[in-house]
Amino acid sequence: MSTTTAAAAHPRGIFHKAGSLRAERRWALVTAYISLVIAAIIMLAPPVYMFLTSIKTSAEIADLSGNPWWVRDPTLENYTALIFNPMFRGFFWNSVKVTLLVVALTMAISILAAFALGRMRFWGSQWLATGVFLTYLVPDTLLFIPLYQIVGGLGLLDSTWGLVLVYPTLTVPFCTWIMIGYFASIPKELDEAALIDGANWMQMLTRIFIPVALPGIIAATIFAFTVSWAAFVYPTAFITSPAEMPMTIGVVSQLIRGDTFAWGQLMAGALLAALPPVIVYAFLMDYYIAGLTAGATKG
């Protein structure tokens, strides 16, 4: 009753309010779409251009007349040349080998470290956890110089094994940090229940924490995978012979001869190299997001 009178008394005021809300929402959507479209164009232009270049012949790439965004004679010869090139396949397998080993090593180290730092509560564990994260802030462009000494001292220069050893310096800190956050989101009572049920620390980790924290583990795994698959500075610094090269530097070093750029093959190689992470992300995106945001809100 009272609301009707109020509305009758101030009809304009109420209409204005409802109208402004709707208009506000419309504006928000319009701005959101415009900025998203701009962002998408900026993000997608390079890979699209790479793809277009990769299906052009060398002659067409060199031909400066015509629209560069248009392909006249599409061809797969750049791809077939790479795929049937044993050296290029070697790069691929090197990448696969290094990445799988690094992911396994990283996860083994960071799960154990995160469990100890996040859950076992010993003197200095907080400081140690912060310290682990701080090491992540040191860039690889700085680290590779001292690491060169270490890897060289171990006789692992110019070997994929050297890469397996040094990549974890990039992956372990961040993965440990993700896992500490994820473990922290698991209620304390769960370990207490497990303790009373008769579990020791190792059983608690393997039977309770790892299964419960699986989304976080997957997120960390994807991160480790991406970092070691895309690593560029370390292999550039430590690898010289083509037989030991991973994709990232193999493509660049073998397809650029002096000032001759095999643009078509370069682009094809780069796209082929980008394929595995894209596939992994496409399937595990949801886990990745869930894992990164875990601990942000305590449920």
Binding site: P187, E189, A193, D197, G198, A199
Partner: protein, 366 residues
């Protein structure tokens, strides 16, 4: 099955804050003991020390005659039910209940027999294949209890197990817990802040406040013969009324001078008990149910006086009347048919057979 003994148990945290200040408690075999008190009174800490989840600063805890101070939780042969259930989210109900037995390497058939048996007691057999997230709060709490029962431990520990349930389910699960205890008869220590839970479940209630035990006793004893003002006020709902009063000695009989010029005669049989309080300020304690509409006037020690209601709360089977008395708000429980109206003085009868006098300085009931 076993008795539990706490001897001068102290829990101090870094910085010297004492959560538990040296408590002694003997819990008999098969007994159901409830630790009750407001939050921060040390009841949960005490339970967690019995469980081995908190270290003991000093004193001894013994389970079944063995001092367990340095024995880890898994070797204490106890089972615990947590407030938030703490079920393993990735395991089925069956696996949740079987986990403790699997870790202890029980044979498969024995595990199955025990889980099935516990599931039958708790009426959760159809849920055995489900994951915890597919269960309601009450069902989760049953599974948590099942996990305790299958272990057949020496002691059950419950840490506010019903606090996360809605009011109706809480009452239902309370009965359920009592039924389970009557079936399995395992020694039980149960922590709650809800005095109704404490009263209904316990063989003996332990009232704690500020890290010390205020009183230990069967529910009825705590209710009728509280030792301190804290216990008197904590046990019973609505709480006991405390009215400032003065004890006067008049020709061999004691009188209580209350505010508003009300004078109550102290029952004859209590004269010697309260004699030392003569001439002193005290707190006059009386429960709302002993402050009613005038009735049973033929009995001895019923005093009638007039007070003015401020707020009236009909509860259905009874009506709570909040009366105004200088310096104190007084609650009375009257028959719902009795006419009462805010602002209009009404006669109330105090049953002085159930009165208490409290020393306001020490807080002790005289």
């Amino acid at each position: 099955m076993a008795q539990v003994s706490l001897r001068r148990v102290v829990k101090a945290y870094e910085g010297g804050v004492q959560a538990v200040k040296g408590i002694d408690l003997e819990i008999a075999d098969h007994e159901f003991v409830v630790l009750v008190g407001p939050s921060g009174c040390g009841k949960s800490t005490t339970l967690r020390m019995i469980a081995g989840l908190e270290e003991i600063t000093s004193g001894d805890i013994a389970i079944g005659g063995t001092v367990v101070n340095d024995i880890p939780p898994r070797d204490r042969d106890i089972a615990m039910v947590f407030q938030n259930y703490a079920l393993y989210p990735h395991m089925s109900v069956f696996d949740n209940m079987a986990f403790g037995l699997t870790l202890r390497k029980f044979p498969k058939e024995e595990i199955k027999r025990r889980v099935d048996n516990a599931a039958r007691i708790l009426d959760i057999t159809p849920l055995l294949d489900r994951k915890p997230k597919a269960l309601s709060g009450g069902q989760r709490q049953r599974v948590a209890m099942g996990r305790a029962i299958v272990r057949d431990p020496k002691v059950f520990l419950f840490d506010e197990p019903l606090s996360n349930l809605d009011a109706k389910l809480r009452v239902q699960m309370r009965t359920e817990i009592k039924k389970v205890h009557q079936t399995v008869k395992t020694t039980t220590v149960y922590v709650t802040h809800d005095q109704v839970e404490a009263m209904t479940l316990a063989d003996r209630v332990v009232v704690m406040n500020h890290g010390v035990i205020e009183q230990v006793g069967p529910p009825q004893e705590l209710y009728h013969r509280p030792a301190t003002r804290f216990v008197a006020g904590f046990i019973g709902s609505p709480a006991m009324n405390f009215i400032p009063a003065r004890v006067e000695n008049g020709s061999g009989a004691l009188r209580l001078n209350l505010p508003n010029g009300i004078v109550l005669p102290v029952p004859e049989e209590r004269t010697s008990r309260y004699a030392q309080a003569a001439g002193k300020e005290v707190l006059f304690g009386i429960r709302p149910e002993h402050l009613t509409e005038p009735k049973n006037l033929d009995r001895s020690n019923i005093a009638v006086f007039e007070l003015t209601p401020e707020v009236i709360e009909p509860m259905g089977m009874e009506t709570l009347v909040h009366l105004w008395l200088q310096g104190a708000e007084v609650c009375s429980r009257i028959d719902p048919t009795t006419p009462a109206e805010p602002g209009r003085p009404m006669p109330v009868a105090a049953d002085l057979n159930h009165m208490h006098l409290i020393d306001p300085e020490t807080g002790r009931v005289l």
